[in-house]
Amino acid sequence: MSTFSAIGEEREIDRDEYTPSVEPQPTWCPGCGDFSVLKALKQALPEVGRTPEETLLCTGIGCSGKLNSYLDSYGFHTIHGRSLPVARAAKLANPDLEVIAAGGDGDGYGIGGNHFLHTARENHDMTYIVFNNEIFGLTKGQTSPTSPKGHTSKTQPSGSAKEPLKPLSLSLNAGASYVARTAAVNPNQAKEILIEAIEHDASPTSTSSLSVRRGTRTRASTSRTSTSTSPTTTSSTRRTAWRPRR
């Protein structure tokens, strides 16, 4: 079996380790709140003591899904709405990895809504970051499950007739043991919340025994853990700009 010597390595971690050197450079619109989430996560990870090579970041599809192009770690940019099933399986397969899932409100509450509920219900020891901009950003501004009632867009020209989803109470209801909300305009709080979320010790209610333990984790730290549903980071901007269509 392979060894995983990146796991549990004791050393100073510089946040620049998470930054790709030349490329890729973020292609988010200037002023987009996603920049702050990236920055907050880059600050949080060294503080919780996790290196890029013991971290697996799984994203969905959306502007938010680009996160792992700009954060250097092990990454899995999955498909629209499916970051959670990929992420939680990786956590089951190797519980010593720091597993973080991330994606947009459309990704997590719309197309991936079922996974959102059930992953919260299983309450894995992992973190899920939702970039809630209340819109489908990447596909150019359509109404999302968290858009306010009356929100108009090209696909809902007479305004959304529906009340927005209430993801935080939903995830609490489903069983997530740590749920928080912060704002991209408040980067310090965002960082603190992320640290708390990652360090939160969830107790998985998944049916499986976590017996496929691999790798050795030397550091005696049980606190550096987290939950299924974590910060819902609200971007400061609802502006949509030109994006390549996926």
């Binding site: 090579e53 092990y74 099933p85």
Partner: protein
Amino acid sequence: MTNDELIWRISGGSGDGIASTSQNFAKALMRSGLNVFTHRHYPSRIRGGHTYTEIRAAADPVTSRGDGYNFLLALGDSFARNPQEGAVYGNEEIKPLSENLDELREGGVIVYDEGLLDASEIPNFEERAEENNWHVYPLDLRGLARDMGREVMRNTAGVGATCALIGMDLNHVEDLMRDAMPEKILDPNLEILETAYNQVREEYDIDAPDVTVPTGEHEETQLLMSGSDAISYGAIDEGCRFIAGYPMTPWTEVFTIMTKHLPKIGGISEQVEDEIAAAALAVGASHAGVKAMSGSSGGGFALMSEPLGLAEMTETPVVLVEAMRAGPSTGMPTKPEQSDLEHVLYTSQGDSQRVVLAPGTVEEAYEQSRLAFRLAYEYQIPTILLYDQKLGGEMVNVPKSHFDREPNPDLGKTLSEDALAEQPHSEDGKFHRFQHEADDGVSPRSIPGQKGGRYLATGNEHDPTGHISESPDNRVAQIDRRLEKLEVIREELDTIDTGSYAGPEDAQYGILTFGSQQGTVEEAVGRLNDAGVSVKSYGVSDMHPFPTEQVEAFVESVDEVLVVEMTASGQFRGLVQKNLGRYGEKLSSLLKYNGNPFEPAEIVDGFEAAIIEGDADASTHQTTFVPAAGD
């Protein structure tokens, strides 16, 4: 009457223990030295609805169900509905005795539970029995069971009566009951078995049994095993330690068997919210370094399309099994069909980059389950094992030594940290996971947590480090490399040859088939040759990459080819023609899609009518003949 084979049909209500009773009896026949093959028919309900299992037992190897049966044990159906006249299902109470009664062979035996079934409800029952020289034994099996234990034990009474009538010792049956039953119910069952046995012998004064079963002997220990067992054991022996799934008939069998075993060997089984999640979990677990699988049947597999494509694009090894049932949509959940072939070959966007194997027998199911994992992990490619309700559920005896093989936990081209250090990296330390130039098209991978192995896996087209790229040159290089793997896999499959061949090599005619119909075709080929027809068969397992050379040589070597498959549109024949690019005038089809697998006689008759007699309208009400193009 003597027979060279016993075809014992036990029928009753679904939920009345028909499956476990028949499984034990098949084992007893196997242990007495015979070769066995079971065929089952069941409704999509937990309880109620007519169900039966047939066990065919003979001294010679059996590869298929037979035509009809020669022994019927008809039990009552405790859950039979008794609806109003004109209801679709009708009165099912008498079904265990009445259904397919015309398939009981001349001189056959009927044992029925007169405590629950009234033969006078069947029109002209007595005349028919006389005409066909059936030996009829009305026995109060329910009464006997109730008096000595519980009513549900009437199955055991039926088995006791069967043994008396076929002249079979009780010892194997008793041994198996001792193995399978908890103490509390064992004693009354043993007592019921013996009483029924003796009662029949005394009451009917049987000196020579009605149907004698041939005696046989096995040279080595045999195991009774289904296709679903074989797939599961193959997966476990090949190191699979993770399964995620969502129940759907008939795939649930594999899911259940894996779930029973995995936790005992340090593995994980997850029942999740839907099949999209199930396949995505398998991908995630494999990405993190565990051998993983998922699976479903038609509808659930449709939901797996996108995660399947993700595995193709990210070159994540994973095995998906697809247990076909009759479609479209919910179709006929408990009825076999092979019509998901095209679905499995082509579903998901883009050019398919996957392997598809369709085993033909229980032995092959084990071998190809292992092969599926080996190819998936060695070549970093999703591999699909395609089978159906027939193969999944049929039980046959397999020599125990068939499974004496080394386990293989190998993850394929996965690098150690030392080896990783030697690999190309970007300036910022990113490992080049998807290199353009790689032996056999396989660029070695790292596992998250390894030092020096950091990269991005993405469903977008990507450059060597895994980063999203739409550069035309990179695109062509990556897709060519991924497709090259299929050529190398084809070469490797050529050295294994998963095909199954029957009949004389220099035969005049050929039959092509795939998957679970192989055994039935081979039985038909045997019968046709016995009748002087010169025909051979080729059961193909590699659906993709396709064994074009071998199939072409087969078609080339004969005058005409009949393609036998359980689809309505001739999907397999279409696949053959697509790959061969010609021979349309040589290939005709025999199709069956009524929910039941082919019986050997249907293939024999169809072949004789269509190919030998050249009857362009050789269809029957069960099977459909489609002539060759230009005919």
